[in-house]
Symmetry: D2
Subunit: 340 residues, 4 copies
């Protein structure tokens, strides 16, 4: 941490800062520049110290130098994390395709979709049993019945299953049925849920919050990793910007950034990332070209009549077309589209 | 809801849209413009219909006309909501000042602060017992011990108490001690928590999410109101933008907007809204000048040594200065700074 | 255009709106919904009418239905625009690579770079002679001397040249040397410059403004097209968001969106889009996978010592690596990396 | 400037950075922390050095410590700048009200407005002769005829006049008629225009760009100040965010921030800042409560029929109401609403 003093800060002010640093059990390192004095802080720094020092008289700003995330950082853990689910490994050479309906609506809908996406090459089945919704007047999922249907489809198709858990009280229930627990974007900073999910003994996929910086996302990951759960997958699903043509702005650059700063695998969700089905295929291809370890795509037998997010769902035919394009793009960047 | 067809949409496509509308039990209303055909949808529309119609062939876009929020809307409830807490009314002519430490740290800290803010004119005491934190390595509050201290200070000072509840499991506990339950910005779309708080039988203050539009905020309010709890207060606390000098960008214009579109009272939180103590006073004055029903301000006996958010806390002296400026500003816009 | 009246709007208010519409030489179309009355406006609407109607008593909102851009719209011009420059066609099946230094610094620097990028497969040479700079204390380009060097390299290598024009007074000068005039992001709404560039008789590349919506970008394009210049290319180069790890957030989804709503070709600039050289290759690949008609990349013989934007420039070796990956990605999505 | 090395950076990498610093004629200052080595850079640093150092091997990040703006900085010029125009001083104790139509439309319109705003207490007359417009199909102002009308009204009412200059070629023309040259938000980084305006011998008002940080705004100011023109006024007019209820989000906190970091006066424009007339009054009051040196407000005899921005213009009656509220708010914060 570095404390930048104002131009003209007095010796008394500088001394006060140094005393405060020592009082926190740390060491200081003084440097007089042409315009300003700068004080380095050495030792194990707790995050709040920044705030504390920033309000001292004569201080211009306090700059953090260490990264606040550790367990998720590649600097401290250079090796890639690989998460194994069923026969699939997320985070290695393979590109994994997670597909299925936004919400589980019925046995028939899930059955048809699971078989269709498996036949087209998907290796993990997605489907929401508990659905967050901006409005209280919208469809909110089948609940445990949805989880049972997912488990049934898993038994039939052999595909491992990912589904969202929305509240602490449901973690055990969802963990009984799911192979991967999904934490949704709105819950990225629901810290109790993160910790509970971290204890559930199942891999977790953590979606990026709508307005979360990459650093905040990795700090949220830290809550899960700190529970001893190493099987964590990140998922980029679009951030909020001023552009309104797309529902969100998918931050494709987060993919190579995460690869650089973290050892965790990263999946891209172009369905939520764009909100429009006709953008899903180009953005899925873009994500894999940029280095994503997989994609998560919403597929529905009949998007026109979907109870949830039909506008962003591919029908079976469009999903098959996507899969045909995805394989050569993965190959072009030295990856392999894994088969079910 | 209005369906805008593309230039050159065929009769067949137009008919398909009309059939889909009728299949949903609604009526259509056709209008042929110079360039395009437009189809109005009449009847009680469910929100997902927009998505459903938008993906039909020949459709350019679907525009919502009704507001998706009802219970919080001034159109349907023209009268101002007034929330009574202790002897204080939030939402009427009075301007209410809520003050106290970010986090309850100790009996001494809370005792000193409670008496100081009361003496300076605050009418509600704030203090966090459960603290959300971006990093798992930060201070997270005293928990129930913090609640007990708040209740003790309430008994001593007569000030009603507001404190944050962060998870469904804690709602009952917090409701036993608090006069107002606060839902934090990160939990604005934690729908289970909203509903549970709505059932707790206590007034609720709902903070605006970091990246929530005003419409989404009112939809979140809808979750609480739908539980039959009418005692709801909104709180603007800054939104996330590209500007990094301030922690957030406080959206002062949200205050008159809420006053126009909703009957709910609105409080401004310049401490979180700016993240810097030296901006708290000008922004508190701005909020009241713009029509806020009150302000919520962090005050600490010694911000330099606060365990949480010291950089944005006023010391007692600065809080007294703020109160002295606030009274004439409130009077200038026809409001009254209420006394404890 | 559609006028949505408030719940409870009076007949008098409705009549006043209808009279205002007729006074503008247009026709109205009345529709009474369950909650509200809606008035369609038929005829050739001028953009300001929205503002005019919106302030009338009883009006809730006015919704535009027609797109405000016409000349750039695919609805009105379904055929792809193809821009021919030298032997290169931008906007067809080919993927075009534009490469060169951010700023022309010296004959030696440009000579080396031009030959290196040509050898690696670039088909257009870029280089700034006039450089915008956030700070007045930064390097601002060689001016006409830079243009001369570009023309010289064009003669030597056969590569057509693109360079930025920053002010109306320089349009003729730049057009004498350049094959494509580039309008920078900061000038996207410099309307005088757009019109002057539109008259220069040369193809124009219009970069997206830092905070421009896709619609505003197409409206800016309209200024150029309205001068009769059909040879227009768009360039996505990142938008401003809250994320600070990257200089900008590159909006890859803008590529398929533009392809859908406009007939104009679109190029991606991952150098400015990310601000970091190690993100340039993955984002270039992503852009082409998403359907970009080409990429524009900054290359420098020695990025460490570049006078401008060294941090985002590839060295020759990294540029060659990018080109080797780009060809199979282009092929995977049915495109062809064109050779010089 | 501070260079933060990566965890595990080699001595060779550290030496290479130090050599690069010395090669630039600067001195280095080494500090070994627990995790990382940090290198301070001492001396007169040019802005590009950051980019140069950031790409060296082993470097994690480079942090700027000095502010990049100097002439506009309060650190270097503690005294408030006061700009005198006619009998009015902007930047002292007085609060100045600038009012008039968005665009000059006709002699009658300007005559009526000028007299009405003067009678209500405005001290500077605004009116656009050259109007920027997102669409080429919109009204773009009367040009020189508009300037003549403004000069005529100045002669009649005694009010000094502010009007926008949009292009370098018009600076001399506009400077002949105007008392203050306005640089619009879209031109905040039109560097040629800034420099030309800086040379015109007239006070300049620089509006904040739609997506400009406060730092970029002050850097743009630097272009004007560097021409020797000290008579510069800043104007906050809203920034672009995700919120769409308002046209822009008015950043009221920029007012106290500018007061802290700069000596330049700051005006608030709630008309453009909100885009809706019914928000103009509360936001004007908020701006003055937060410490603005004045406000700029659009007023029109008949906003319903305005050629430009009618939706955000006050009619005479509403302007008078604003003025009646403004005086006591200014007084409440120790300022004085100056009379014409």
């Amino acid at each position: 941490m570095i404390v930048v003093m104002r131009v003209g800060a007095t010796d008394q002010q500088i001394n006060a800062v140094m005393e405060r640093i020592r009082a926190a059990g740390l060491k200081e390192h003084l440097s007089h520049g042409v315009e300003r004095t700068i004080i380095g802080v050495l030792g194990q720094i707790y995050p709040e110290l920044k705030d504390t020092l920033e309000v001292l008289p004569g201080v211009d700003e306090v700059i953090r130098v260490s990264k606040p995330y550790k367990l998720s950082s590649r600097e401290f853990h250079p090796e890639d994390t690989r998460v194994k689910v069923g026969g699939v490994t997320i985070g290695g050479e393979d590109v994994v395709v997670i597909a299925g309906p936004c919400a589980v609506e019925s046995e028939k809908q899930l059955f048809e979709t699971a078989h269709a996406v498996r036949a087209a090459g998907a290796t993990v089945l997605r489907g929401g049993a508990f659905k967050p919704s901006t409005s209280p007047y919208s469809f909110r999922g089948l609940g445990e019945r949805g989880l049972e249907l997912l488990a049934q489809m898993k038994a039939e198709t052999g595909l491992p299953v990912i589904t969202e858990v929305m509240t602490v009280a449901d973690v055990d229930l969802v963990a009984r049925y799911a192979d991967i627990l999904q934490i949704g974007a709105r819950n990225m900073q629901n810290f109790f849920l993160l910790e509970e999910a971290g204890k559930a003994g199942k891999p977790v996929m953590l979606k990026r919050g709508l307005s979360a910086t990459i650093e905040e996302w990795l700090l949220a990951a830290e809550y899960i990793l700190a529970q001893g759960n190493k099987e964590l997958i990140l998922c980029e699903r679009g951030i909020r910007t001023f552009e309104s043509y797309t529902r969100n702005t998918m931050d494709i650059s987060a993919i190579p950034v995460i690869e650089k700063v973290s050892h965790l695998p990263i999946i891209a969700d172009p369905s939520h990332g764009t909100g429009k089905w006709h953008l899903v295929t180009p953005m899925a291809l873009a994500a894999v070209a940029a280095g994503a370890d997989g994609i998560m795509v919403e597929v529905h037998p009949n998007p026109d009549s979907a109870l949830k997010d039909g506008a962003q769902s591919l029908n079976f035919d469009n999903f098959r077309k996507l899969m045909k394009l995805l394989a050569p793009v993965a190959a072009a960047v030295g990856r392999r589209l894994v088969s079910p």
